[in-house]
Symmetry: C2
DNA sequence: CTGTTAGCGCCTTCAG
DNA sequence: CTGAAGGCGCTAACAG
């Protein structure tokens, strides 16, 4: 039962040198002889010494804790789990460690976990904000000089960096694809209107409709919960329209899934009688609906980019807010399930600076 | 640009009291007057003070860092993402925060992240070990008095607590179900034999075969990768047996999925011509194969239990190693997709001590 | 109820 | 190349 932790002085005494020497060994300083270094490291192993980062960080001026805070709104969704994995890959290889907290869309929880993380001295924060997060919520963080990267869900107005999917471009490509197949009445189905993602996607929808010379009737935009059930509701409403749509781009794949359900309930075969395209934000559906044409995102890639951006800012001390737009791919699948990438959007990510 | 962090002395000066008073306020001591407490907290807010846990923890003797380390072998798998969510729920409500690291089945990474976490002074560790983890790997941790809970994948021989699914009971129930349907030749398909989970599940298989008076030919146990492809391989091998099986329990749902693929390739309809049951470790398949009878586990529940057990040990200072077996449910689905819980195993968890 | 005095474990001068 | 002080932010005794 080794209750007392072994410290630098312990190993210094054991070796017969001073604590400073041990400290120098710890940070790999060249100011110490090979012989002493070897003895010190050997004794460290023997006594089971563990470096105390808390103490080190306390002495060192800056907040070089080596901890990255990661806050996601729903870890149950594979999308965000993959995002966390992407972050972890970069964070680990940089020798950092990540605090990961799940908010379940609760802003209270979000506030709490961020506070706790700050108390622990995180040196940066990556966050996919809970619904209802205000740009002002980031104010105290940036005021404290804490690097923050917002992922997936943009927070326009906040002076923080962000990494998001190409929501506008993705929907644009989807609509263009349907138009090229001859569809004239194309609906946009699903999503909560009070989210940045919804705004961006509907913006892409409007632009694409216009660009293809199609009537952009706002009645064709039908909001709903971004879930399978929401999709059922949205399509049922869409089919009641006077001039029925013949195809739809959906907020996400869960909605698209529900839309297919709803179509079948009306004896319409999705893909044949009615074209359905969805953003695959809910990855579960990727495998569940293999026949669905999707706008495919790369959550791990977003996570990696976000982490890289954050590390860059941490190392730079302080950088201006930057926005990275992660490209998406339109994956066209015909009804028999064969897959081919139709319009692979440019791999090079467009990048814009400022906020 | 507030570069200098505000400390207790800053706010003490601002209020006109001593730092100790501020410290007492911080820990909610009743030894301070309401008036001063109010002024102190108010000034803290005004100056944007953030509590420095590192410093506090340094002063306090024990390692009350309030950090729980969570290490999983594959966060990409929804099962483990859900596990992490379950842990997070408990950890957050206890005011702790979790380090979450993904090892991707790499023992090297695992060693690294555990080392890093220890340097940060975690007060406990929950781990779903990477394949190839030796019981001895936990030796230094328990020697240091660090509470450790192994989840999902047991590590027999290690003197640590664990929370695992009822692997034996689950397979037992699955086999019993098939036997009750009249099957006599039942195979066990999939899984790596060098894992504890495989051992436990095949043990359940053997016991169930014996209990139902069935021939337990070891040739009926066919190992393979615990993946969809592995399932295809396993069933193809099984169908080559002299006395063909008429049903199978599978290591997990991914294998079961592959088994169905393989059966269809042989023009056998799964569920009709051949009964398939799988442990649903890979949750993706839960929705993807709605018609499959599964042995259903509760990853979030395992996470919650593991966290509760760990917190208990942390608070108790030191507790004996304890093993919790989380019950599973046999979910029987007929071919048209209707669902009903057939044999709901007892909710009360069996518990055994020691180990 | 409040102030004073020591450190926690480590790193950083600054001299040997 | 090594040793001796001092202090990071906080808390734990003690005194007032």
């Amino acid at each position: 039962m080794t209750e007392t932790r072994v410290t630098v002085v312990d190993i210094a005494r054991a070796v017969g040198v001073s604590k400073s020497t041990v400290s120098l060994v710890l940070q790999g300083s060249p100011l110490v002889s090979e012989a002493t270094r070897a003895k010190v490291t050997s004794v460290m192993r023997d006594l089971g010494y563990v470096y105390n980062r808390g103490a080190a960080n306390l002495r060192q001026s800056g907040s070089k804790s080596g901890i990255i805070g990661v806050v996601v709104n729903d870890l149950t969704n594979s999308f965000f789990a993959e995002l966390a994995v992407g972050v972890d890959v970069i964070v680990q290889s940089a020798g950092f460690v990540q605090f990961l907290a799940n908010t379940s869309e609760s802003i209270d929880r979000q506030r709490e976990v961020i506070a706790t993380m700050r108390e622990h001295g995180i040196s940066g924060l990556i966050i996919s904000p809970a619904r209802g997060t205000e740009p002002s919520d980031f104010r105290p963080l940036v005021a404290a000089g804490l690097p923050v990267v917002v992922a997936v869900r943009n927070s326009p107005g906040a002076k923080v960096s962000s990494v998001i999917s190409d929501n506008e471009g993705g929907i644009f490509a989807g609509v263009a694809h349907l138009a090229s197949l001859g569809h004239r009445r194309i609906a946009f189905l699903g999503g909560f209107p009070d989210t940045a993602v919804f705004q961006e996607r509907t913006a892409g929808y409007r632009k694409a409709m216009q660009a293809n010379g199609l009537d952009c009737d706002d009645g064709l935009i039908i909001a709903s919960a971004p879930s399978r059930l929401g999709g059922v509701e949205a399509i049922s409403q869409a089919l009641k329209l006077g001039d029925r749509p013949t195809g739809a781009v959906c907020f996400n794949d869960a909605v698209a899934f529900g839309v297919c359900d709803g179509l079948r309930a009306q004896h319409l075969e999705p893909g044949v009688g009615f074209a359905v395209i969805g953003f695959d934000d809910v990855i579960e559906a990727r495998t569940a609906v293999p026949a669905l044409t999707t706008i495919s995102v790369d959550p791990q890639g977003i996570g990696r980019r976000a982490a890289q951006l954050l590390l860059k800012q941490i190392n730079a001390g302080k950088a201006e807010a930057e926005t990275l737009i992660s490209s998406v791919r339109l994956v066209v699948r015909d009804t028999c399930g064969a897959t081919r990438a139709a319009a692979e959007m440019d791999n090079v990510n467009r990048r814009q600076t400022g906020s």
